[in-house]
Symmetry: C2
Subunit: 462 residues, 2 copies
């Protein structure tokens, strides 16, 4: 069911796509690299640009200073009813290595490619192009009908690519100002170019660095080898023991709180026809390497993992040095699902190390931190409404999917503001996020705007 | 038994120590760093200095060009009888990090330290100071008696610190020119500052780099973690399995050719009163970590080992990247004893990896090479003669000892020239070889010269 007011808004989007693109290009030209202090002014400029653009739409919009880059908060009463808070970020990743770009990352352009027309430039997909899909949808509603079908707040940060140091303090201080009925987050992708998606399960992340020390200095392996403990061997054994022969993680209590897929989820995921062979083949692999008797989608969306992300000991340069190293270290992370407790898992890791530590070795666990998984309650009627709206726009019906990665903001909305999030985005796997030659498909931008137009309409009736 | 001709030679050494030191200082001032092409001229200069000094002694001495740095060969007929070939190297290690030296490494000086008087400078111990102990002993014999008590050849290379690329080709081409009855090598240390030593067992060395490849690029551990094989885990398991719980190496056939200590050796080593607690305590350890039921001296002198010398995978910088690495690599080396076959051990390692390699992983073994252990036949009468001569000079009787490290030249003398070696040196554990502030004790230099004077005398009677 769609309202009669919808069609003219969609038509307006189609008719004004060029001017929408011009605005996106203007925003992309601002080099708002948040992690590099040299671009502090550009970040401020991007925040100002957002404020000005939102005011031109009739939103009350403010720039709020933080100890880092400013927040932008904008509000429009709309037709009342459901109140949504849209989140995005106006900052972008650094552009190194610059020589791999085929054009200036901050001189964006529309390019024709064999795979279609794309918007090329840093931030095209992450997240300026995505956030503007929502802004332009609001603009079209206002242009055609003078008002939005629901109450809309927007919340943009400028530190997402640099660890969001100001985000939690700001959200705590402005909780009542930010609280809405549901959050909308446009920083994810489609299931595939035909199939839109609402991401409803985000894995959590616990991570740490383990450093084992044996002798108090690097030794000559000829003089000491055989008598002195070698921390690289100790580390190898500790890491090797993290999984059993069936691919399961051996930490005590690791699977506490890991739910099995419901039949409904399993059926829906099966129906997606995920190309596991293509997914693995794209990176040179052919055999799922995780837990036995699990599908690849389960492995990456709904099962927890333990991965070594880095490992370092002794001499690693060219040639050979017969050093018996004093230290060996590894960076290890866990993707978490369900109600797995990150603190309990970090404690279990510590116990795992202690149990395997031989005499004369000491260990340190550095930078340990974790956040649990986030699962959205898809029984909230907004989810079904949005799914229908997306299905109306795209060739294939929308799917509720999982996401192997972690998007902390969704967790913060739950824990700090008591608000669930709908993660809806139009990115594609080949967008080159964080990499040279980032792009956003013109179709993603255009149909993304149309998707939000439809979703706003659908939400007005939940 | 010593000859009547010995005492005046020893007196001459004592009386002329200052001029001997001046010559050593002149040699130390030449920055003959063999690994750095910028010092090629200095290496040549050091070779010229050696030639000139040996000619001044009445030796016929020649510089022989190679594709790298030149060889120096010198000969003196002496009294005939036993023919010894003395080996040393005139090149030195680089001096980085220069800021840790308390003086210019090539402006040597005599320094008073709490532990005694030392000669400070790059090469003071390794190997210029050591090789000059022999040259000065020859000089004293010639000065007092006009001739040497035995026939002496000398052979100096300038590439010992840079892998000796020219050594084997040169030895093969000049085998008949270099062949003597026995080789003398002065590039080792004393057992302790009171106890001189002849090193009669040198461990061999086999080494390799193992590189495991999983996915064809680094992956995002959120997107792929759980489904994609992680080569760091594979490497950890392969390395962890190299030893069993009793510290023994698990490679198939690894202990083939490993002899047990003879009772005589065991008794002699026991009599040395080796301070295992002090040895380990000096590097922050307290418990021997190798094979069970072996003494520390056995572990480092007569047992084979397998050590990880380096390990590298994924992100190892500051902070954290949730990368699932494409590659993981380790540098592994084996110290070999008895008649262990390095090639068989490298093959066994390869089989060990293959047996543990999961689907979708490939591996490469790079830079694999090995040389077996060298054991000297101490029943040759020269060994007992030299041991007696050393025992006459020093506070404690000389010992036949093992050496955990590898000195390839001794093996080459055996295999290429059919000649055994007596490894006699006066270095101490704290000489800081290859490190900043290298030194050689003045006592080591002085009594080292006197030791060779005695050994030459003793060898004239075997």
């Amino acid at each position: 069911m769609t309202s009669q007011s919808l069609a003219p808004v969609l038509d307006h989007v189609d008719a004004t796509l060029d001017t929408a693109l011009e605005r996106l290009m203007a925003l992309l030209r601002i080099a708002s690299i948040s992690t590099d202090p040299a671009y502090k002014h550009a970040c401020d400029q991007a925040a100002d640009w957002m404020v000005q653009d939102l005011r031109s739409l009739g939103f009350t919009a403010q720039k709020h200073p933080t100890t880092g880059h400013p927040m932008v908060v904008a509000k429009d009463q709309g037709a009342g009813g459901l109140h949504v808070l849209f989140y995005g970020h106006y900052d972008v990743q650094p552009v190194d290595p610059l020589n791999l770009w085929h054009r200036d990352p901050f001189d964006p352009a529309i390019e024709e490619t064999p795979a279609g027309t794309v918007i090329r430039g840093r931030g095209a997909a992450d997240d300026k192009g995505q956030l503007m899909t929502f802004v332009e949808a609001c603009r079209a509603w206002k242009a055609v009908h003078g008002s939005l079908p629901v109450r809309v707040s927007m919340f943009f940060e400028g530190e997402e690519e640099s660890g969001s140091p100001s985000l939690v303090p700001y959200m705590k201080d402005h909780a009542s100002d930010l609280k809405a009925d549901i959050a909308l987050i446009c920083d994810t992708g489609m299931f595939d170019p035909q199939t839109p998606a609402i991401t409803t399960a985000l894995r959590g992340l616990a991570k740490l660095e383990l450093e084992i020390t044996g002798p108090d200095k690097d030794l000559h392996s000829g003089m000491y080898g055989g008598a002195a403990i070698n921390p690289a061997h100790v580390l190898a054994r500790i890491l090797a023991d993290l999984h059993d022969d069936t691919g399961r993680v051996t930490l005590n209590g690791f699977y506490d709180g890991v739910p099995e897929l419901t039949n409904a989820q399993a059926e829906q995921w099966d129906a997606l026809g995920f190309d596991a062979a293509g997914f693995l083949g794209g990176v040179g692999l052919s055999v799922p390497a995780g837990e036995q008797n699990r599908s690849v989608l389960e492995m990456i969306w709904s099962r927890p993992t333990c991965e070594i992300n880095g490992m370092n000991s002794g001499y690693t340069g060219a040639g050979f040095k017969t050093v018996l190293p004093s230290k060996a270290s590894a960076k290890v992370s866990f993707r978490l699902v369900g109600t797995q407790d990150p603190d309990a898992i970090l404690r279990a890791f510590d116990a795992h190390v202690q149990a395997r530590l031989p005499a004369d070795c000491s260990y340190e666990i550095l930078d340990a931190e974790g956040a649990g998984a986030t699962t959205m309650p898809i029984d909230h009627p907004a989810f079904e409404a949005a799914r229908q709206a997306l299905s109306d726009e795209w060739p294939r019906p929308a799917a509720f999917i999982g996401c192997g990665g972690s998007i902390p903001i969704a967790g913060y909305f739950q824990t700090l503001l008591g608000m669930d999030s709908m993660l809806i985005g139009f990115g594609r796997d080949d967008d080159a996020l964080h990499s040279p030659n980032e792009k956003y498909d013109l179709e993603a931008f255009h149909k993304g705007i149309r998707s939000w137009v439809r979703i706003l309409d659908a939400l007005s009736r939940v």
